[in-house]
Amino acid sequence: MLDTFLALLHGVPVSLAVTGLAFALGAVLGVPLVLMRRAGHWLPRLLARIYIEIARGIPPVVWLFIIFFGLGSGIVTLTPFQAASLGMGLISAAYLAEIYRGGFLTLPAGQDAAAVALGMTRLDRLRFVLAPQVLRVSIPPMATFLVSLLKDTTVASTIGVRDVMMLVTQQAQAAGGGFAPFISAAVLYILLSIPVALLARKMDARLRARTSR
């Protein structure tokens, strides 16, 4: 059992890398997406909406197949690792855009009005007044999303990424049945998600202490 567990550890860097890259890509792409979602004009709003619905409505495994076999066989060739990070990143952008949007909705209307009345440009209002407050309220749901993303990236093994899940499958096949690899994987994923939850709570507490009494 311990051997199995230790063997799975070799997959951890890859699992974390896919999760981290996808999250970073999603966090960045989520910004233009939420801005389009909140735009004054209907066209960017509609496009963002369509993207978000499609990204969230199709199972991740289908996305990865489309990106890896579809995109990958055509113009560009992607390694399984690249395809998984890109695919999960594009999906994450949709979820994170919605989290940001929820954050915008919590802001009192007076915040933007005050910044407008001061003569700040749209970009400055976003950068200095709105975004920091949106980010602050978005941290807890972002952390929750990160933990679920870590679990969801197990689908990367279906296109051949050598992550924890791939090793689990190999171990299970080698052992010819038995569920030790799966129990090990369960324990491992729980252990991996604990630091994320702790870190999120700490960041949240620190920001909260600063902005309220």
Binding site: G110, A113, M120, T121, F128, Q133, R210, T211, S212
Partner: protein
């Protein structure tokens, strides 16, 4: 009146089918303090917010300081920013930025909007904090301050951009009476220094004492205006009499 610093002509503002401000014209002289009163829903906030284009009138002309805008065609971003730079606004809910210290609340707009250096902005901020009697609060976050202190910071933040006119929308309505007094006292000093001020308020005593002119609005129109002693003590319209009587009874 020679050379008004604020001049509204034929301003109309609609929300869908609701006609919130109806063909209002108003001239305000440099250094004048105007109190705007009237029942809830009269259109006071809407008219005030038209002066810095927080609300977009459907028609009319707006003149503030060096700017004159015809409102029946869309304004450019540049003009809008310039207009807002020359007006300062104070809100009922203060609207300080909660994630910034008091000093940054006041310095950041100076740096971003006027392009002042951090040192210069902080110097102006320190001077203004003295002026609103809160010099010791520079490093505090807004949530740690009382409502009256927050509102005085909000006044300092607006003043820091050297506006030509200050707009106040019920600046003391969210405050306990004694905290309201410290805000009113800062506003009184500001008026004495010659600032042009337009103040939407239910503080009749303040209007009577500080205002040069009282404007009564109802149903989106100015129904009566004149010096406070005349409008408050001796209003001509029955509707205005009833309004002031109701306010006096509440106090």
């Amino acid at each position: 009146m020679t050379d008004p610093i604020v001049s509204l002509k034929g301003i109309n503002i609609r929300y869908g089918t609701h006609h919130a401000v109806r063909d209002v014209s108003l001239d305000i002289a440099k250094g004048e303090v105007v109190a705007m009163v009237g029942p809830s829903g009269a259109g006071k906030s809407t008219l005030l917010r038209a002066i810095n284009m927080l609300e977009t009138p459907a028609s009319g002309t707006l003149h503030v300081g060096d700017f004159t805008f015809a409102l029946d065609r869309p304004l450019g971003q540049k003009d809008l920013l310039a207009l807002r730079r020359s007006t300062g606004m104070v809100f009922q809910q203060f609207n300080l930025f909660p994630h910034m210290t008091v000093q940054r609340n006041i310095s950041l707009p100076q740096m971003r909007v006027l392009g002042r250096s951090r040192e210069e902005a902080d110097r102006v901020t320190a001077r203004l904090l003295e002026r609103v009697h809160l010099a010791d609060k520079a490093q505090a976050y807004p949530a740690r301050l009382s409502g009256g202190q927050q509102q005085r910071i909000a006044i300092a933040r607006a003043l820091a951009l050297d506006p030509q006119v200050m707009l106040f929308d019920e600046p003391t309505s969210a405050l306990d009476p004694e905290l309201g007094l410290e805000v009113l006292s800062v506003m009184r000093e500001l008026a004495a220094d010659g600032m042009t001020m337009i103040v939407v308020t239910h503080e009749i005593a303040f209007a009577a004492e500080v205002a040069d002119r009282v404007i009564v609005m109802a149903d989106g129109q100015i129904i009566e205006e004149g010096p406070p002693e005349q409008v408050i003590r001796n209003p001509s319209l029955p509707r205005t009499q009833k309004f002031f009587r109701a306010i006096l009874e509440r106090h």
